[in-house]
Symmetry: C2
Subunit: 377 residues, 2 copies
C-alpha cells in the first residue's frame, strides 16, 4: 500500500489491513529455530512455504497486498526474500525487541496516521492454520464486529483441555450483521491447570486465546493512550514521522526509550474490562507449533516407515524406528531400534530427544546460554 | 628392519617379529568407521592413540621396530602418519582384499625369505587390550612355545558366555620352559549358542579365539604349502621379489590371482589337526570393539552426567540422558530425556540407535549400500 491512502468504501472489509508480527525465536524449536533463523522463517509443515509466507498467503484474499510486517532488524533481508510484495514503508523493523505492546501499537499508530478509519487485524507469523477458508470466514466476521466498535479476538474452539494456552470466556451473542457468531468477551484467563482446563472445555463457554485480533485502529489507540500514555506518545511521534524523510531518525531516537509491555496488558484486558472486546470463535485447526511433537503432528511431509521426515535434503534410513526427524542438512541419518525419538539436525547443532520431552528443549537452550555456548543459539 | 637380516641369537625372543594386519572396515561402527577411515584409524578408547598406534606401542617392547604392517593400499598415507617408524619394505599394501590367508601368508613368506628362523606374531590392529604387561607376558610365553615348534594362539580367558566369538579347546600342558601356561590345542570351535557357550565357560577348558598367534614362519609356510599350494606358490613368488626392484611388478601381477581364504582354514585348523598348535591363555582384558556398546564400555574418556562422550571437539549437553556419544564434529549435541542412546555424529552421516540395538548397525549399512547411498560408507 505504500503511502497511498486507503479509501474507505461501504463494506468494512475494504477498511481491512493485515499486520503480521514476525518475532519470537521459538526457543522450544531449537536448534532449528534460533535467533538468526527464527521459527517463522522455517517450513515446519512440509508445505513448501515458510510459516511467514503461509501467513501472508492466508491473509491475501482479505487484505490483498495491504499488509504491514513488524520484525527484528536482523530479519530484514530474510523477510524481504519471503515477502517481496511488502514495500519499504510497510516493513517495521525493531532495532531491539520491545514486546507486543510497542510492536502492534506502532502498527496501529502508523495505520491510523494514514487512515483513521482503518480496521487492523494482527496475526502472528509463526502459527499453522487450516483450512484457510474457515480462517478467512472468521476474520470476515471479526471485521464486521470491529466495524461495530469492538476489539475482536479470534478464539479457537478447544479440541482438548490444554494447559499451554490462555482462555477467553465468552458471553452473550452480539447480534452483529455479517458476524453471526460474535460474542461479548467476559474475561481473559491465564493458562489453567488440568482440572480447570477440563471445566473450561466442558462448559462450552471458553475458547483458546490464540493472540489473533481484529480492531479499529482508533479504538486500539484510544485504549493504549488511556492505559499506557508514555508508550502511546512515543509511538504517535514515530507514526507521524513514518511516511516522511524523518522516519529513521525519529524511530532510532524514540524506539529504545519505549516501555516493554505485552499488548494483552496494554490494550486487550483493560478494553475487555470496559466492555469493548468481542470474540469470534474459529473452528479452523490452529497450532502455534510450540514444540517438535507438534511439528511431527502437523507434518504433511514424507514418512519413512513410522518416522516423519522434515527437510528437503534429508536422507533418512530407518529400521524399527519411529518419531520425527527435522533435517537442515544433507547428511545421511540412520535410526535403528529407537522409538518416539525427535532428531533435529542442523549444521552446527544436533538435538536428540523424545516426543515426551520435547517441551524441555527451552531448558536446554537456557543451559547452553548459561554455559556460554551462545554461537549456536 | 628394512632389508637388514635379523640375526638369530640365543633367546627365542630375539627371533620375534610382529605382524599387524590392519584391515576390516568395522561396519558395525559405522558411520565413524568406514571404508575411507576404518576402525583401526580411530581412537575408540579416549586414550589419545588410534587403535593401530596403540597396537604398535604394545608390541614395541617385544619387537622394537621389527614390525610388518599389512593394510589396504587406500590406507597407506594414514598408516604412515600413524606409524612413521615403519619402513617402506615393511608395509605390505593389498591392492585388493584377499582375506587373512594371503595377508598373513605373505607376511610369513617375506619374513622367511629374510630369515627362515624368524618367529612371527600376528596381532590385529583394531583390538583393545589392557594391561600391556599381561599381554606381553603372554606373547613371551607364546614365543618360547613357538620356538619349541608350535603355532601358538593366544586365547582369552572368557569373562562371560559370549556367543560372538569362536572358542579354542585346550588340552594338556606342554611343559615348555619359559611358557608355563602353554597347552596343546584340542580343537577350534565356531561361535556357539548361549547354552553351549555357558558349558564352555563352566568347563574351564575353553578360551576365546582372539585371532592372535605366534609361530615360526617356517612352520606356518609348511602348513600353508600342504593345504593351499596355489596360494603358497603365489606368495612365495612375491616374497622372493619383495626386497628387490621387482617387488611392485611381481606383486601387481600375482596378488590379484591369489585365492581368498581365511588363515584359520588355510593354516590354523589343519595344523591343529596335525597336533602342531598350542594355546597360551591370556588373562589380560581384550575387546574387539565390535559395536558402540563396546565403545561405551571401554571408554576412559569424559562422562557428561551418564553419557560417555568420545571425540575431541565434542560439545555435549545432556539433561536426564544416558548412553554413548561419539562425535567426529565440533557440533553442539543436546540430549534431553533419552536413555541408553548411541549417537555417532560425523560430518556426512549421523547414527542414532540404542545400546541394545548397536549390533544391528551392520544391517543398516547393508541397506544403505543397497539404496545406493554409498558415498557415506
Amino acid at each position: 500500500m505504500s503511502n497511498d491512502k486507503v479509501t474507505s468504501q461501504d463494506s468494512p472489509l475494504s477498511r481491512f489491513i493485515a499486520v503480521i508480527p514476525a518475532g519470537g525465536v521459538g526457543t522450544r524449536l531449537w536448534p532449528l529455530s534460533r535467533a538468526a533463523a527464527p521459527k517463522f522463517l522455517h517450513d515446519l509443515t512440509g508445505s513448501g512455504s515458510t510459516l511467514l509466507r503461509a501467513t501472508y498467503d492466508r491473509l491475501e484474499p482479505l487484505a490483498g497486498n495491504r499488509v504491514l510486517v513488524v520484525t527484528g532488524v536482523a530479519h530484514r533481508a530474510a523477510v524481504c526474500r519471503q515477502l517481496p510484495e511488502v514495500q519499504d514503508g510497510d516493513l517495521v523493523l525493531e532495532s531491539e525487541p520491545k514486546d507486543s505492546g510497542a510492536a502492534i501499537g506502532l502498527a496501529a499508530a502508523i495505520l491510523h496516521q494514514r487512515d483513521p478509519d482503518t480496521i487492523m487485524g494482527s496475526f502472528a507469523a509463526d502459527h499453522v492454520i487450516s483450512p484457510d477458508g474457515l480462517f478467512q470466514d472468521a476474520v470476515r466476521e471479526a471485521i464486521h464486529t470491529a466495524a461495530a466498535g469492538k476489539i475482536v479476538t479470534i478464539g479457537i474452539k478447544p479440541t482438548h483441555p490444554s494447559t499451554g494456552f490462555g482462555y477467553i470466556r465468552s458471553g452473550n451473542s452480539l447480534h452483529i450483521p455479517g458476524a453471526s457468531s460474535a460474542q461479548a468477551v467476559v474475561e481473559f484467563v491465564e493458562k489453567p491447570d488440568e482440572d480447570v482446563a477440563q471445566q473450561y472445555v466442558d462448559s462450552g463457554e471458553y475458547v483458546w486465546n490464540a493472540g489473533m485480533f481484529v480492531a479499529p485502529v482508533s479504538l486500539m489507540l484510544k485504549h493504549l493512550e488511556a492505559n499506557q500514555p508514555e508508550l502511546f506518545n512515543g509511538l504517535q511521534e514515530i507514526a507521524e514521522a513514518w511516511d516522511t524523510p524523518q522516519r529513521d531518525e525519529v524511530t532510532a531516537r524514540i524506539w529504545p526509550t519505549l516501555p516493554k509491555i505485552a499488548i494483552d496488558y496494554a490494550v486487550a484486558e483493560p478494553a475487555a474490562a470496559a466492555g469493548d472486546v468481542a470474540v469470534v470463535p474459529g473452528s479452523f485447526r490452529w497450532d502455534d507449533v510450540g514444540d517438535f511433537a507438534s511439528v511431527g503432528r502437523l507434518n504433511s511431509a514424507k514418512e519413512v516407515d513410522e518416522v516423519t521426515v522434515l527437510g528437503e535434503g534429508a536422507r533418512v534410513f530407518t529400521e524399527n524406528a519411529s518419531g520425527v526427524v527435522v533435517s537442515d542438512t544433507k547428511r545421511v541419518i540412520a535410526l535403528i531400534g529407537i522409538k518416539d525419538v525427535v532428531i533435529v539436525d542442523t549444521p552446527d547443532a544436533l538435538l536428540v530427544t523424545t516426543k515426551q520431552h520435547s517441551q524441555r528443549v527451552k531448558q536446554a537452550v537456557d543451559a547452553l546460554k548459561a554455559s556460554g555456548d551462545t554461537d549456536v543459539l
